[in-house]
Symmetry: C2
Subunit: 144 residues, 2 copies
Amino acid sequence: MTTSGCELCNEDGGEIIFRNDKLHVVLIDDANYPGFCRVIWNAHVSEMTDLPPSDRSVLMRTVCQVETALREVLQPEKINLASLGNMVPHLHWHLIPRFADDAHFPKPVWAQSVRQTPTAVLAQRRALLPALRAAVARHVSCEA
Amino acid sequence: MTTSGCELCNEDGGEIIFRNDKLHVVLIDDANYPGFCRVIWNAHVSEMTDLPPSDRSVLMRTVCQVETALREVLQPEKINLASLGNMVPHLHWHLIPRFADDAHFPKPVWAQSVRQTPTAVLAQRRALLPALRAAVARHVSCEA
């Protein structure tokens, strides 16, 4: 089901790094957060509990597989997971690798930023994105 | 396992409304967000992928049961789910019922607030908390 006017029904929502019939995983181009991924349910539903339990499991298994890939490649201080959808009520999970020197740490990325991460550090993290794409494809496709 | 110095190893983290051997559900006393709940894993682990897959499923099933109770009783505009843990890296999920007239909507609750919700509206929502406690106990315990 698609809903006209819904951004995530009409657009990929980022660079697609995995897609199957139920969901897709995208890499977000965020200057402060290289490796920021989203797992987006393909059909237009708003809440986790709008899905049948078996599909909730499929979605969270994929979220955890992407988390595994992020930890393996980027080795962040912390992973942040969130399903908010106040602006775009089409079920999607944010997966954000967090580092002690990132723009908001230890606050959530939606708070006021507290520092500027050095450009060279961000460039080092961006250089890991090809490995991240490969790790996501490997972890998600081998169990999906 | 407990970790000395970890707030969620040493404290309940709120008013306990459900507890079993693996996890507990607490109601948070947040003036702007009546019904704000957390589902906290009892043992000290940091990330979802630190749990074996079977325990990830147990945890997310409980998160969804609490979401069901929140939707049933409070009928919010949106449910926000998040596992952040940058400050307290002990696995816990935030469940926040969001309303169009709440302090931050449509922004995340960690952003700058954009309005003051009328006191009478907050009081009406707080009046639903006994029903919420009962609904959480019913939804979680019948399947846990």
